[in-house]
């Protein structure tokens, strides 16, 4: 199955793109996808604490992905 990952801020800059299209196995969780995209977190390149969103709503790390999902890893927000 297929998911779209949207990237923002330092995550976008780090990958050099704002979206990724990926094939994932059924049953893949958000956390599993994170481990695949960020196998080893280099100091400074990815914030220590990410939140997760699927289809524009926050989810927990163990949320299972569905075909067609839009997934976002949310670095610490700093609006205002």
């Amino acid at each position: 199955m297929h998911v779209r990952v949207v990237l923002f801020a330092m995550l976008r800059e780090q990958k050099g793109v704002s979206e990724l299209e990926l094939d994932v196995a059924p049953g893949t969780t958000v956390g599993g996808l994170e481990a695949r995209l960020y196998p080893s977190r280099q100091s400074g390149s990815v914030p220590g604490k990410l939140l997760y969103a699927v289809n524009q709503a926050y989810v927990t790390r163990d949320h299972e992905l569905q075909d067609g999902d839009e997934v976002a890893f949310i670095p610490p927000v700093s609006g205002g």
Binding site: V6, F8, M10, Q56, P76, V77, S78, G79, G80
Partner: protein, 134 residues
């Protein structure tokens, strides 16, 4: 009114959108770009938003305010893109019959924006830049 925009925010229009005949108190918060931060001199900020989700989260904040205070006259507009020192980045307006609730709800709104709305800012310094982390 709940918006993410690249355009200048019309403060008067945001305030006007919450006013009603029973709302004797209107509290407004403007966030503007400061010329300094912990890291020193700031020359500009670059705001980036996950726009659709940011709007959804801001609507959620409005719903929280309605639940907590029964206030349903709340507007939130956040501007994104590169913002120079002194420019307005966010405008929140809250109208309610009594002022204490309007102050509390407006303060809650800006606090929550900084907690849950997917917007990020990069601080541009005279030399270098950095994504602000919280």
């Amino acid at each position: 009114m709940v918006e993410i925009t690249e355009e200048p925010i019309d403060i008067g229009a945001v305030i006007a959108s919450v006013r009603y005949s029973g709302g004797g108190a209107v509290v407004t918060f403007l966030g503007t770009v400061r010329d300094n931060d912990e890291a020193g001199e700031v020359i500009a900020l670059e705001y980036e938003a996950y726009a659709e989700m940011a709007v959804a989260q801001m609507r959620g904040i409005r719903a929280e305010i309605e639940t907590r205070w029964g206030i349903d006259h709340v507007a939130i507009v956040h501007r994104v893109g590169r913002r120079e020192v002194g420019e307005v980045s966010v405008v929140i307006a809250v109208a309610s019959p009594h002022r204490l609730q309007a102050f509390d709800a407006c303060r809650f709104a800006i606090d929550r924006i900084k907690e849950i709305v997917p917007i990020w800012k990069k601080e541009l310094y005279p030399h270098g830049s950095q994504w602000k982390q919280a």
